[in-house]
């Protein structure tokens, strides 16, 4: 129940904004310069602005909301086909009584969209043609039929002013009170049905087999989703246009999909991104009135997607690049620490420090390289550098012993438990030493009977030796999972 409110809360809030904007006001749009236009947009003085804004918020909300199910069900291109296939229905709805009555257009377009999608499934079920072929075929054929009808209507004496061509690319400025009311109704139905059937949608989207086995009517849920989807696409047509409305389904939801793994967060985020893109598009087309709204909204949505792609905290390109880089830097530091440990070990633990020459010999690197490595360690508080000697800090000594312990424990584990020859285990241990977590190490120690000597005869640093004079330090605790 609490989860439902977590979806419901933000969505209801978003629904309330446009209703506040719909309050009446009488002034018409006149040509002014663009600075003034911006001012007018944000002060909502004009009734037209309110309609545009309310409309774009509502359409972004319902498209984003339903789009998240389209994306997780891998039906993105079904949405594309659906949006093109409604065009003949729009024209027929107009022909019904030769006006742009939103309700008849809604009914006509919904029927056309449903006929189109059922044709796709009929073609794939009764012929050898694949789904992508059937989708493309229905998309283009229905669109062509729609274009035929629209060009015929425009030839009629009354048809020229029909404004049907605005349905191709969308013109949010043409939204009227009726349109916005219809959009609000569809948005409420969409939000309501998503909340009411959230569990069913979740189950059928991710595990259709399980959903069927537990007695859910998966087919009916699919058809219901398609119906609500078609209705929200159709009411969005006036503002976004036939050609690009599918992007308003796919792009905000895909952006949200990059940011979260939980469906309820995905739904809310997608609705929010949809609203963002819708408002951005409406605003830009208001500032430059000659520009069609649809492409601008789509560019807005794509910008959101690009931002999520680049800056997403977990799956974003920058975050991943940063993780990879910092991981590589940490591995390099730990390898330096290990070399220092080896040098001190060869000296029989007599000296506390390691001369740079010894380290360079051990690592087979130049003095400059070794100096740079030392500086990096010093910067992270793992070692102190004098002119030519490196000393461990307590934290550094602890980390070095841990790495060596991990390495040798793993070698021992591979030779004892996996029966791998002792001269084949080094490479593998070289990689895993940086990754092994504290609990796995405990497990290994227990399994190996707290062994003290590795397969090559070297001693494994014991927990007491590691934690003897230093407590737990950030470097070990924070960075390891």
């Amino acid at each position: 129940m609490t989860r439902i409110w977590r979806i419901l809360g933000p969505v209801l809030f978003l629904l309330l904004i446009p209703s506040a904007l719909r309050a009446a006001g009488v002034r018409d749009l006149v040509e002014t310069n663009w600075l003034e236009q911006i001012g007018r947009f944000f002060t909502f003085r004009d009734v037209a602005v309110r309609y545009v804004l309310a409309g774009s918020i509502l359409l972004g909300l319902s498209c984003g909301l339903l789009g998240s199910f389209i994306v997780v069900r891998k039906m993105a291109l079904v949405g594309d086909t659906l949006s093109h296939a409604v065009l003949p229905g729009v024209a027929l709805g107009f022909l019904w009584n030769m006006t742009k009555d939103p309700l008849t257009i809604l009914i006509g377009a919904t029927i056309a969209g449903l006929v189109g999608t059922s044709l796709v499934s009929a073609i794939t079920q009764t012929t050898r043609l694949k789904e992508d072929t059937a989708l493309g075929l229905v998309l283009a054929s229905f669109f062509a039929a729609g274009i035929c009808l629209i060009t015929m209507i425009q030839r009629l004496p009354t048809g020229n002013k029909s404004g049907l061509d605005k349905f191709l690319f969308g013109q949010a400025a043409a939204l009227g009170a009726d349109d916005v009311t219809l959009m609000a109704i569809v948005a409420v139905v969409a939000v309501g049905s998503v909340i009411a059937f959230y569990k069913e949608l979740l189950a059928t989207s991710f595990d259709p087999g399980f959903a069927r086995a537990s007695g859910l009517p998966a087919d009916w849920i699919h058809h219901g989703l398609m119906l609500v989807l078609t209705a929200s696409l159709v009411v969005a047509l006036q503002a976004v246009g036939v050609v690009l409305v599918s992007a308003m389904l796919i792009t905000p939801a895909a952006a949200a999909y990059l940011l979260t793994d939980r469906l309820h967060r995905l739904v809310v985020l997608a609705a929010f991104f949809g609203v963002l893109a819708g408002v951005a598009g409406a605003f830009l087309s208001f500032v430059g009135p000659s520009l069609p709204t649809g492409p601008l909204m789509v560019v807005g949505a794509s910008t959101v997607f690009a931002a999520a792609f680049l800056f997403g905290p977990r799956h974003g390109v920058l975050a991943r690049w940063w993780r990879q880089r910092s991981g590589m830097a940490r591995t390099q530091r730990e390898n330096t620490l290990k070399s220092m440990f080896h040098v001190i070990e060869t000296n029989g633990f007599r000296a506390e420090g390691v001369t740079l020459t010894e380290l360079a010999l051990r690592r087979r690197e130049t003095m400059e390289d070794v100096q740079r490595l030392g500086k990096k360690l010093a910067r992270h508080g793992l070692a102190t550098v004098t002119s030519d000697v490196l000393y461990f800090t307590p934290a550094g000594r602890q980390r070095a012993s841990e790495i060596v312990r991990n390495h040798r424990l793993w070698e021992l584990y591979l030779t004892n438990s996996a029966n791998i020859a002792a001269d084949h285990v080094h490479e593998d241990a070289e990689k895993i030493e940086h990754i092994l977590g504290e609990s796995v190490v405990r497990e290994l120690e227990r399994k190996l009977g707290y062994a003290t000597v590795d397969p090559h005869g070297k001693s494994i640093p014991t927990p007491r030796a590691i934690h003897g004079d230093a407590g737990l330090v950030d470097e070990t605790k924070g960075r390891r999972k």
């Binding site: 992508d132 493309g136 796919i250």
Partner: protein
């Protein structure tokens, strides 16, 4: 409503375009045939490789390439247009691959995002530079094949080769046909059995990118006359209709050409009768041909299916013995 559908005048619809107005409709029909058959030949391979929707993506996303090529070169020359289209096609492919491979977004959504973004940018550029670019936003969607005969003619000495777009399209058709003939075996093997193709030393990615390049060139030459969306129908309809009638690839190619010719002819009749966009009428005619094939195809048409299903239910049919044909058909159905 009665105004909408004009009375059917057999002379004006069926005769006049080929007698009095042949100088106009002759070129339109020839252009329609060239577009549909060049697209059909490329589209057959797209369909076999389950890449039919790449046609959708590329046809939308070459628009910004075209507009930028117009703006940079300041002309509508063939070379800048082809360069623009090819680079836009390449960008689309790379974008889709990047989104698909580097994120968790699936390929279908990646296609949707990539082409809608590029197309939206293209439309905005078209509208913004409407004065400098010889395109308008609606023409981008469904083209203007009726303007083809009005373009300047290409002449070779005293010989009239045809209007410029037709000449270009005919050369592209010839090029596609030659390529298909020359690489027939390679295309066949790599489309049906990529593993075998690899073991025979055919580089699959060269075939893939070659096909995408051919697609971009075909789509850009067809763009002015049929627009970004109708070209998808031109890519898919001929091959889809043909493959309902036969399973042999050479026959599929042949039947796609027949489909192209028929839909061009019927489309002009339909367009003249209803007085609507000729390119859209051609697609509607082609879709009608597909519907006919779907219903009446002797092997897998709806009627044939219904009859075989009916026979199975009647008691005196060969009970217990399943014909080889039936096994084949049911296995086809299940895939």
């Amino acid at each position: 409503m009665s105004q909408l559908i004009p009375p059917f005048d057999a002379h004006a619809v069926l005769v006049a375009p080929w007698t009095e107005n042949v100088s106009l409709f002759g070129w339109i029909a020839a252009m329609g045939f060239c577009v549909a058959s060049a697209c059909g030949l490329v589209g057959n391979y797209l369909m076999l490789r389950r890449m039919a929707l790449m046609g959708d993506a590329v046809s939308h996303s070459i628009l910004p390439g075209l507009v930028v090529a117009f703006l940079v070169s300041g002309s509508r020359g063939t070379v800048p247009m082809f360069i623009g289209a090819l680079s836009a096609g390449a960008i689309t492919t790379v974008l889709i691959e990047t989104i698909h491979k580097r994120t968790r977004v699936k390929q279908d959504a990646a296609i949707g995002i990539a082409f809608s973004t590029l197309f939206a940018i293209g439309v905005i550029l078209t509208v913004t530079y409407a004065g400098q670019v010889d395109l308008d936003a609606e023409c981008v969607l469904y083209g203007e094949i009726a303007f083809v005969p009005l373009e300047p003619m290409v002449r070779l000495g005293s010989l009239v080769l045809g209007p410029e777009p037709f000449f270009r399209m005919a050369s592209v058709l010839l090029g596609v046909a030659v390529l298909v003939a020359a690489f027939y075996k390679e295309l066949l093997v790599s489309s049906f059995d990529p593993g075998l193709a690899k073991s025979l030393g055919i580089n699959p990615s060269i075939m893939h990118y070659g096909l995408m390049a051919a697609l971009s060139v075909v789509v850009v030459s067809a763009f002015e006359s049929v627009g970004a969306i109708l070209v998808i129908a031109m890519l898919i309809l001929p091959g889809a209709t043909a493959s309902l009638l036969t399973t042999r690839l050479p026959l599929v190619h042949g039947l796609s050409l027949v489909h192209a010719a028929l839909s061009s002819w019927l489309g002009i009749a339909l367009g003249v009768w209803l007085d609507c966009s000729l390119a859209a009428a051609m697609v509607v005619a082609g879709a009608g041909l597909f519907a006919l094939a779907w219903i009446f195809s002797p092997r897998e048409g709806l009627i044939a299916r219904w009859r075989s299903h009916h026979e199975k239910l009647t008691p005196h049919s060969s009970q217990g013995i399943v014909s080889r044909d039936e096994v084949e058909r049911s296995s086809l159905r299940s895939t």
